[in-house]
Symmetry: C2
Subunit: 251 residues, 2 copies
Amino acid sequence: MRNILLDLEYDGTDFWGSQIQVRGRTVQGELEKALGQLTQQKTRVLLAGRTDQGVHARGQRANFYTASTLSLTTFVRGLNALLDPDLAVLQAQEVPESFHARFDARRRTYRYTVYNVAIRSPLARRYAWHLSTALDVAAMAAALQMLLGEHDFAAFAASGPDRTGRTTVRRIEQVRCWSEGHWIYFQITANAFLRRMVRNLVGQLVLLGQGRCDEASFRTIWQGLDRSQAGPPAPPQGLCLLRVEYEDIER
Amino acid sequence: MRNILLDLEYDGTDFWGSQIQVRGRTVQGELEKALGQLTQQKTRVLLAGRTDQGVHARGQRANFYTASTLSLTTFVRGLNALLDPDLAVLQAQEVPESFHARFDARRRTYRYTVYNVAIRSPLARRYAWHLSTALDVAAMAAALQMLLGEHDFAAFAASGPDRTGRTTVRRIEQVRCWSEGHWIYFQITANAFLRRMVRNLVGQLVLLGQGRCDEASFRTIWQGLDRSQAGPPAPPQGLCLLRVEYEDIER
């Protein structure tokens, strides 16, 4: 069987997330449907990272096994012709049969975008979180910097049923928080992320940037490992999965 | 009566254009409805420029007369609370009673955005025209430069019934065509524009950038003043009204 890796871009606004579900339109569901039409074979797609409802991606990746002999170019063109305008395949490449888009991913990078000015923007609203009071970017950047390295991020995991036995330790490798005009960006690279970790982190960083939490409390909340002590998550539309990286695969 | 000038931003995707119509949601219609709710008085809104269905604006302007004593801040906040997320009031100011947003406008600036790379982009699709074959930006910039000054632009007017007696002469004051990565921008400032002029111009410039028309034919089409000789208009989602300027009003 051939194993093919796809690079994907999508506007998450009208998806019920990336992973297939019983009801609701999903990235995986749309891809599997289009691959079924193209190859005339039932095909399962393995996504590198899970994105929640409303979260976007510029560099999501996914692999699938196929007996089809279609060329890579035909896969890209054919899928893009079949998929709706809010989902596109940017690239396709052959990978070894043992390759798994999720298990083999070594690094993921997310960017969160805030639009920080008094009045909301109709043209920014789909891809940014509007906050009207001025945020302290330097304070947020300093707090973000603290998170570098391998730590337990249970305080920023999704709330919900406890998943006994699963580690909540992750390794954050790069962080950056900066502003350009009215825009503020948070960019985080880690080996992997807990579900809703970036949105929970940004939610708490924004409380800090608004002066509603200081760096000591930020550290206490984080090190307390208790999700219920942290603030509400940032909304999904500001989040975008920028990149998923592998060791042995060239982009 | 007070006369109030508003600065507006909108995402044109879900509007049937700016001007009120018998049916369909319009920028003017939504503003008049919100002003009616806020002031409890029937209020007419005068827009500076007409934008067609699907065209966006970052700097549209409009004035209205009112007997209301609400403060300018209350107008901005109240309207933004009543308007849908795709339309916002950025600023409000008092202007002399004789001021008219359309008749007094001295200069309008439009920007057209092209996304020029092989594969379509789900995240760019609402605000750019995707063209997959590489365009010659220098050739398009040179042709655009020719249009500077006062000329008859009948060749780039909207097709449709002839409007006898109306001049098709306009004065183009500034032009710029440049690329940034995969993006190509066309920016044009003129005293006024004919209906659909920017989209028709960009449509013809793109034919030139694709090598399907040379500079001499571009000039012949333009100087022939015959709309039927020019190519199809560029699609609306790439167009944005950036600015409307007045002589005596400070922004």
